[in-house]
Amino acid sequence: MKNPYVPFPMRIEDIIVETEDENVKTFDVSFVGKEDEEQFVYTPGQFAEISVFGKGEAPFGMASTPTHPGRLEFSVSKIGLVTGALHQMESGDVVGVRGPMGNGYPLETFKGKNLILIGGGFGFSTLRSLTNFILHDSNRGAYGNLTVIYGARKPGLLLYKKDLGAWQQRGDLQLHLTVDKGENGWQGHVGFVPDVTRSVGPNPKDAYAVVCGPPAMIHFSLPVLKELGFQDEKIFLSLEMRMKCGIGKCGRCNVGSKYICSDGPVFSQAELTQLTGEAHF
């Protein structure tokens, strides 16, 4: 029996400071063991538990894409014990990793369909993974039109600026960036994500919407999608709860009969409406 509690080592190769307040950093890590690399087969939307030995573990969605083998990226907001310790680490340091965990986005269901990805804040990390996955040469033809709506409180808090710049240059992706509050030099849109979604007005025909971000953004985005004609089965959300084990045993991430860690974190809105009131946005 493989021991699901024992992490394998990964080495930090690079650390990118994502935000102007330096509170979000992306850790680019490489596998130390060849076997660990071979066994780590993941899809966008899945997550892993990162160990800082002596401090503990915390879960993070993979911000990287499986089309870039050998490396994983995790974007970490400095907020607690483990994330604080991670932010102190340097290139060359070793962390522990358990995973991949969770179900990930339903890539097969999305094939041949138009996709509208709606993200906010640092919840955007797995949507970045999904976007880069679809944009990869080997996958782009399998999916329809791709629309990405991404917002942050202010321009300096938008993540993955290098990717955003590259995506803006492409003709096969519609990118709509927005900030709650503009600042000097911001040429882009100012407004909340749900309002931008309404004005972009994606067509629900042959389309799926994927939503990941803070609860308030989800709460106000769902009625907009409904207004636009998206049925509950065509809306997917990536949820978050406090997690420890990541394998459906430690008991803290359940919503009704579903464990966010092992049944999710990705659910359709149709599935969520079947669950208890805790899952209703």
Partner: protein
């Protein structure tokens, strides 16, 4: 399901337990600090078999309150992990109650078999459950209303029932083949079989059933926002001790105990009744008050995780 029945005369039980102790760890009810607790025994003289329930369930024998998952030695740029070796000896849970034996079956759904928890599975495989039926159940007991019974052999490798001067022993699994070769066991006679059936029926009939709705699960789902939860939660201190005593509660925390670069990742019991259990790093808590936590635990125990893990 039960292949055969045996008899152990009461004056031969002590000898049987002594022989068990020769090469196994034996946990049995003993009196400690005015309560009856399940303890690893050194001497069979400490064992008491006339009691209602032990203070704690036997779950700690397979799911310890604190357990080392691995040790580690970390230094700049590398880490070495060391997973502890499992138990060497078999362990026997002797004299536990049928409700606690059944509780282990529910824990199996979370940790056992193919559920991928090697720490639990290894201990469980080396555990023999020798339970003792209740002939005098506590007035607050409710096993019979939850599908179990005071004399139910479910979950037991051997099930003992007190017939006065002897115990009827039902064989519930093939894990005890070696034990049954002990000289204390005799074949059961018709008279003992009939007496055990009579005791079983009388004991079950003596219990007052809980007034549970047959469609409890369905009702709980619909009552999510019912104001009754407020009144129920007002009686709860949120201390979490119910989850520590419950034979089926299995929530845990994972944390590191470290001194310099050396330390351990440990698993410790946790409780859904504690405010930090679900509190996220941002400060957001989906179950912020005793009401949500009480509601969560009640729904979980009576409805949701049973359906998840079945």
């Amino acid at each position: 399901m039960f292949s055969s029945a045996r008899i152990v005369r009461k004056d031969r039980l002590e000898g049987f337990l002594e022989r068990l102790l020769e090469d196994r760890e034996v946990f049995a009810p003993v009196r400690k600090g005015g309560l009856v607790t399940l303890e690893m025994i050194d001497s069979v003289r400490d064992v008491i078999l006339e009691y209602e329930n032990t203070k704690e369930s036997p779950k700690a024998a397979v799911f310890p309150q604190r357990e080392t998952l691995f040790g580690y030695q970390a230094e700049k740029g590398k880490v070495a992990l060391d997973v502890p070796r499992g138990k060497e000896k078999e362990q026997v849970l002797f004299g536990i109650r049928p409700c606690d034996a059944r509780g282990l079956l529910l824990l199996d759904r979370v940790f056992g078999g193919d559920c991928g928890d090697p720490y639990y599975a290894e201990k469980r495989a080396k555990t023999l459950v020798l339970s003792l039926g209740c002939v005098n159940p506590n007035p607050t007991c409710f096993c019979h209303s939850m599908g179990g019974g005071p004399c139910s052999p479910e979950g037991s490798d051997l099930f003992f029932l007190d017939l006065g001067d002897r115990y009827m022993v039902e064989v519930g699994s093939d894990k005890c083949e070696a034990l049954l070769e002990d000289e204390a066991f005799e074949d059961a006679d018709e008279k003992s079989l009939a007496l055990s059936e009579k005791i079983r029926k009388e004991t079950e009939a003596s219990m007052t059933p809980l007034a549970l709705n047959e469609n409890l699960k369905e009702h709980l789902g619909r009552l999510f926002d019912d104001p009754a939860w407020n009144a129920l939660a007002e009686t709860c201190l949120g201390c979490g001790i119910c989850t520590y005593l419950c034979p089926t509660c299995h929530c845990f925390d994972l944390c590191d105990e470290a001194a310099g670069g050396t330390g351990e990742r440990i698993r410790v019991w946790d409780s859904c009744q504690f405010p930090l259990f679900t509190q996220q790093a941002s400060g957001f808590n989906p179950r912020p008050t005793v009401k949500e936590r009480f509601h969560g635990a009640s729904s979980n125990v009576l409805s949701t995780w049973i359906s998840v893990k079945s």
